[in-house]
């Protein structure tokens, strides 16, 4: 068994060595068998095993054949790369070290893409362990894009769905190498079997410079590092070279509006409840805003026609839970509106019914807002993954809710002057002026909201995590400074308007302040990702709604 490698290869009995070609070295007469160790395991995974990638950084020359082969294999558009190359650098001239990462999907043991998916589009194949994504099931919500610490899933605008590396499962099933493995001139990528329990106990070999920590999702990719980067050696660590220029993330405009509107409604419901001002017309107003917000939210999807599927995974996905709670909220609010209207028309209904429905709707609104915030608490996006996110959502509800509730007093008479209510609907109104403490409430909520924003920014600035500091850099950078400053200025205008008893103007300014801040929330987040190259195409900021 301890024969030299080449002799074992000639014997042809060793399972690791399968292919031999005789390579004549010409006149010297030596026949030196060229040994090519197989790049595929000899058998399918057994129980408790799965396939994984092995990437050998010492062999990779950064030629990028794997990236092109992958795109050709999957007929992907040029700007969607399921396999990507990253460059790392260490040391100073002339002892400089340059190395490359080549990475597709890591087919993690605890895949966050899978856990977050609201429609169960992801499955971990029971035989191969490959994390598979179904384009048919996908509704294009991009939540997996947010969840993956390696930024592996990518949204394809042409299709309206996400796509990702499936280890060329169709080829593996036939005993063929995946396209990247097949194309690599250096044999730097191969497929191996891994014992899942063993790997879970020790996955140190998954970690590498230029890669987010494997512990988050237990990446299965084994990476062979060059000496300079191997753990325990000299600490001239390989550094990423792609971080010098920060890129804005997608703005998700429909979500900017949807979250702000839903939070305003949820907050206003509580305020109006407290003021005992929930008449049918106000409820109808809140219901209309809710309908608008929920409709807008579907525009965020690549496949709005299948928005209903998002309810499916409520047991697992916060996105499903948000959709479920807001759907129930909409139902409760509708019921509350109908019942309140019926009472105002004089139908004899038990007195507790409207109250119960109001309270149900109010609680569902707050739960929905919290579920909404939970969506953003993803470790792959450190700038979102802080207590300031739920605080922001709740305080926005209070701030906009108080403004909206106060504005209703002015809004309804104003509207009824322009569009006189038909006689049939007049019973639905009730004369009500905003209480005198309405301004004080708005002031307190606005202050709390602003303090939360400021604290968040400060903590990002002082964070030890690169991606959080990077979010601060974007937030305070010259390109986005007008937005940041604009948000604060609008907030001050809101307070002036509220103080001078212009609730409609206050609401408009407050809403604009929140929209700007929410826009910044989306575009300044810096996701975890694998290292990329220095020069590369950068999609225009906000390219995907």
């Amino acid at each position: 068994m301890n024969l030299p490698l080449h002799e074992r290869a000639v014997e042809g009995t060793s399972p690791e060595l399968v292919r031999l070609t005789g390579l004549s070295l010409g006149e010297s007469g030596i026949v030196f068998p060229e040994v090519v160790s197989s790049l595929l395991p000899e058998r399918r995974p057994g129980p408790g095993e799965q396939y994984r990638f092995h990437f050998d950084m010492t062999k990779c020359i950064g030629c990028r054949s794997c990236e092109v082969a992958c795109n050709e294999q999957n007929n992907n558009p040029a700007d969607i790369l399921w396999r990507r190359i990253g460059e790392l650098e260490a040391g100073s001239y002339p002892e400089t070290q340059r190395h490359y990462l080549s990475m597709g999907c890591n087919h993690c043991l605890d895949a966050d893409c899978l856990k977050g998916c609201p429609v169960d589009a992801y499955t971990k194949d029971p035989v191969t362990g490959i994390v598979l994504h179904s384009a048919d099931a996908c509704i294009g919500c991009s939540y997996c894009v947010w969840n993956c610490p390696y930024s592996v899933p990518q949204f394809n605008p042409e299709r309206g769905v996400v796509g990702k590396c499936d280890m060329c499962k169709g080829r593996l099933d036939e005993g063929l190498e995946p396209a990247c493995v097949h194309s690599c001139p250096e044999g730097a990528i191969e497929i191996e079997l891994v014992n899942m329990a063993g790997w879970r106990a020790d996955y140190a070999l998954a970690d590498s410079p230029g890669m987010p920590a494997a512990e988050q999702t237990v990446s299965t990719t084994r990476i062979t590092l060059p000496k300079v980067a191997a753990p325990g050696t000299e600490s001239r660590g390989l550094q990423r070279i792609d971080l010098g220029q920060l890129q804005r993330e997608h703005a998700h405009i429909p979500l900017v509006y949807m979250t702000a509107l839903m939070q305003a409604v949820a907050g206003a419901l509580w305020v109006l409840l407290a003021w005992h001002a929930l008449d049918a017309l106000r409820l109808a107003g809140l219901l209309a805003i809710t309908a608008l917000a929920l409709t807008l939210s579907t525009l965020h999807l690549g496949r709005p026609a299948y928005a209903y599927r998002a309810l499916k995974m409520w047991r697992r996905s916060w996105l499903s839970r948000e959709v479920l709670l807001f759907t129930l909220f909409f139902g409760a609010l509708s019921a509350a509106t109908v019942v309140t209207a019926a009472r105002q028309y004089g139908f004899a209904l038990p007195g507790w019914l409207p109250i119960a429905l109001h309270l149900t709707a109010a609680f569902l609104g707050i739960l929905g807002t919290l579920a909404s915030a939970a969506i953003y608490l993803v470790p792959a996006r450190p700038a979102w993954n802080t207590p300031y996110t739920p605080a922001d959502f709740v305080l926005t509800a209070a701030f906009l809710g108080s403004l909206l509730a106060a504005a209703f007093a002015d809004l309804l008479p104003a509207l009824t002057t322009i569009f006189p209510l038909p006689a049939l609907l007049t019973p639905l109104t009730s004369a009500f002026a905003a209480p005198t403490h309405a301004f004080a409430l708005s002031l307190v909520c606005a202050a709390a909201w602003l303090v939360n924003q400021a604290l968040r920014a400060w903590r990002l600035h002082r964070s030890t995590v690169f991606e959080s500091r990077a979010a601060w850099s974007l937030l305070s950078g010259s390109a986005l400074l007008p937005f940041t400053a604009g948000s604060v200025v609008l907030l001050l205008i809101t307070l002036v308007c509220a103080a001078t008893l212009h609730p409609l103007l206050a609401l408009a300014a407050g809403f604009a302040a929140v929209l700007l801040s929410r826009y910044l929330f989306f575009v300044t987040v810096v996701p975890l990702s694998m290292a990329l190259t220095f020069v590369r195409s950068r999609p225009a900021a906000g390219a995907h709604a």
Binding site: Q73, T96, A135, G170, L176
Partner: protein, 725 residues
């Protein structure tokens, strides 16, 4: 797209399942349906000189997929990213589709007849007024051997101007000259197999990982790695190739001659030469040994910046190797001392006998897919078949083969490419014809070139792509077929003649270069004289076989059919000079005393950086081809400048800053700065592929006196932050 489809896509009912579906390829297995082909055409890659065998899939008359040919000895099924996406260039949006003639300052479409009539009329008119030599023609290593041979006859025997050269003069002319200096003839003596079987591989100025990635399988850490093989890379920059090396000699720019002479010094001093080989097969050894005596390790260390013990170590490795291989590329060639540097490299191989044996060769890794074929068949620096212009016997041989009067054949080489450009500025060249090359981006010192292009009375640009920065200057644009649209042969770096096949028809009215040459000959009235009975490139090949018969580069035994069946055949076999007999008058190779001189434009206080230029793996030359491939273009959409952190700190520059590079000639603006320890302090590097940020605005118009190759690699520049717009 119908409204219904549009709505279905908008709401997500239609997700283009068909476009993204997979199907079963009978050989390759599961693959995107879009890559499924009806037929596969065996051919050879049209990018670099490695000469990879490939299979191009065709469906409904369109090329849909590219694969490496698993049976091909060069690449064994592997391809680099350019090869893997090569099918995309054929229907690229930038293809030239119709002849264009400048009328009242605007290029307007014309018929082929009008285009060619105008061309012949204008050129012969100019020649009548200014002499036959007022026409200069620049061909390319992108043409088929058959086409290049046909072109040479057309230019020198049809248009009767001696001034015929190729863009290969910007590329490997120094290798040609160096081989001629040492061995009496061009012809790389080794092959890729030697690279794999050598126990010491020394690469000088050769970044194969970016430029010839498939050769890396022979020297890298991959499956082909031979135990005990040492790879030494000499490069001033920490290239991807340097990272593959066991020993990287981070040499000062143009320290290579000193290093090579220094290695010779150590070999002679320590008795690591092969005296029997020297005695039997070389001349001028005594003078050479005396000359390199001055190149002591300490002296060389001073010039190269390398530690003396490193130089000793490398010399001993090479001297003690059973088989030592030296490969070089543009780091050597792109220099005004390129030819003699090649001679210096040959010296090392000769004194150690590391030539003509398995694994042992001084080997020029050349540039373009058919640079070699044009070297052999061209009427440029030599007559076809490595014959010499100044040799009456050679001219007589050719005259007999062609049935013409020997007096018609030029007795001396015409102007080399740079001399034609200078000639145009000086007013000696009045008409220029560029074929499949883009000098506006590739020629050094753009301002002089621009003056030349604007000085000539008639400028013809024949290319597969339009517009190109060069065709913008043209009076006449001839749309040509490219790789994949014509049939013939390329010859790669290791002398392997490979078959290139027609995969699809050219777009629009584009015609193969060969057809254009024949149509011009007909108009000149020389078609039957020069090309009797020719209709296809097969006729040109048949004549070329007769013309090369008995020469060092003998194509006569190798038919197209054999070449195709055997996946290429190396003329001269696996290696040349196995018997130690060289094509010199006395059969012995010459050792040369090669002086080590500083490069032309040294940095000073004002222009305080040395600018080095080069390539990146994703792109090819001036990007006329690779800019057509969205994937490659997306990977590297723009140029960058590499600068050491020490310099960046001094200049208060930050990564991704847009910088301007200024030389005594011009400047390049808005180049993305990369601060990196890849380059030495005091040096900067930028890729030359990008017309938008053209490095040749600042490069130097200095040329090798022997090979006429430009000194692209070193010039003095300063770097400033670009002002905001």
């Amino acid at each position: 797209m119908s409204l219904l489809t549009r709505v279905k896509r908008l709401v997500g009912i239609d997700t283009r399942q068909q476009k993204y579906s997979y199907a079963q390829d009978p050989v390759y297995g599961k693959v995107a349906t879009a890559r499924l082909a009806d037929t596969w055409v065996k051919t050879t890659c049209g990018y670099c000189s490695v000469g990879c065998g490939m299979l191009i899939g065709v469906k409904d008359g369109k090329a849909v997929a590219a694969r490496g040919n698993p049976d091909h000895p060069v690449n064994r099924g592997k391809l680099c990213p350019k090869g893997l996406s090569e099918h995309h260039i054929l229907d690229g949006p930038g293809r030239a589709r119709q002849p264009l003639l400048r009328k009242n300052g605007v290029l307007v479409p014309v018929s082929w007849d009008e285009a060619l009539d105008t061309m012949v009329e204008n050129i012969t008119g100019i020649q009548a007024r200014h002499g036959l030599g007022s026409l200069g023609v620049v061909g390319t290593g992108q043409l088929l051997t058959e086409e290049y041979y046909t072109l040479g006859k057309l230019v020198q025997l049809g248009f009767r101007t001696p001034h015929n050269d190729g863009n290969t003069t910007l590329c490997m002319a120094s290798a040609v000259s160096g081989y001629k200096l040492s061995f009496g003839s061009d012809g790389p003596p080794g092959s890729y197999a030697d690279m794999a079987s050598a126990d010491v591989v020394l690469l000088i100025g050769s970044n194969i990982a970016d430029n010839h990635p498939i050769l890396c399988t022979r020297v890298g850490e991959g499956p082909g790695k031979r135990p005990g093989r040492t790879l030494i890379v000499v490069d001033p920059r920490v290239t991807k190739t340097a990272m593959m090396a066991d020993i990287h000699l981070a040499i000062k720019p143009r320290g290579d001659i000193a290093l090579i002479n220094g290695i010779a010094h150590i070999l002679i001093r320590d008795g690591l030469t092969d005296p029997a080989y020297i005695a039997a097969h070389t001349n001028q050894y005594e003078a050479f040994a005396a000359y390199v005596a001055a190149f002591t390790p300490e002296h060389v260390a001073g010039i190269t910046g390398l530690p003396p013990d490193r130089i000793e170590q490398v010399a001993h490795l090479y001297g003690r190797a059973k088989a030592g291989f030296i490969g070089w590329t543009m780091g050597v060639n792109h220099s005004s001392q390129g030819a003699v540097t090649v001679a210096a490299i040959n010296n090392l191989a000769l004194i150690t006998g590391h030539i003509g044996r398995a694994g042992a060769a001084p080997f020029s890794i050349t540039g373009q897919c058919n640079a070699m074929g044009t070297r052999e068949s061209g009427f440029t620096s030599a007559l076809p078949g490595y014959r010499k212009f100044d040799n009456p016997q050679h001219r007589e041989e050719l005259a007999q083969l062609w049935g013409i009067d020997a007096e018609e054949i030029p007795k001396a080489r015409g102007m080399a490419y740079p001399d034609m450009i200078e000639g145009a500025v000086a007013g000696n060249i009045k008409a220029l014809w560029f074929i499949a090359t883009n000098p506006v981006v590739s020629f050094p010192n753009y301002n002089l070139l621009k003056q030349a292009l604007e000085s000539v009375e008639f400028l013809v640009v024949q290319d597969g792509f339009h517009p190109t920065p060069t065709s913008d200057f043209a009076h006449l644009v001839l749309p040509a077929a490219i790789w994949g649209e014509k049939e013939g042969t390329y010859t790669n770096s290791e002398r392997r003649i490979s078959k290139v096949n027609r995969i699809v028809t050219p777009p629009g009215e584009a015609r193969p270069d060969f057809d254009i040459f024949l149509a011009l000959a007909a108009r000149l009235g020389v078609k039957e004289k020069l090309y009797p009975g020719w209709t296809t490139t097969a006729d040109a090949y048949a004549e070329w076989q007769r013309v090369s018969a008995g020469r060092l580069c003998d194509y006569s035994p190798h038919s197209w059919a054999d070449i195709e069946a055997q996946n290429g055949i190396q003329w001269g076999g696996e290696r040349l000079y196995a018997d130690g007999h060289f094509p010199t008058p006395d059969g012995r190779a010459l050792l040369h005393n090669v002086p080590c001189e500083p490069f032309t434009e040294q940095p000073n206080d004002e222009f305080n950086f040395i600018l080095n230029t080069g390539r990146t793996v994703e792109h090819w030359h001036t990007r006329t081809k690779t800019a057509q491939v969205d994937m490659l273009n997306g990977m590297v959409p723009n140029a960058w400048l590499e600068m050491n952190p020490v310099d960046a700190e001094r200049l208060k520059l930050r990564s991704h800053d847009k910088v301007t590079i200024v030389s005594r000639r011009d400047k390049v603006t808005d180049v993305e700065l990369r601060i990196t320890s890849i380059v030495a302090p005091g040096q900067v590097f930028m890729p030359f592929h990008f017309a938008e940020t053209n490095s040749n605005r600042v490069t130097l118009g200095a040329f090798d006196p022997i090979s006429r190759e430009p000194n692209f690699k070193q010039c003095a520049v300063c770097v400033q932050k670009s002002s905001a717009h």
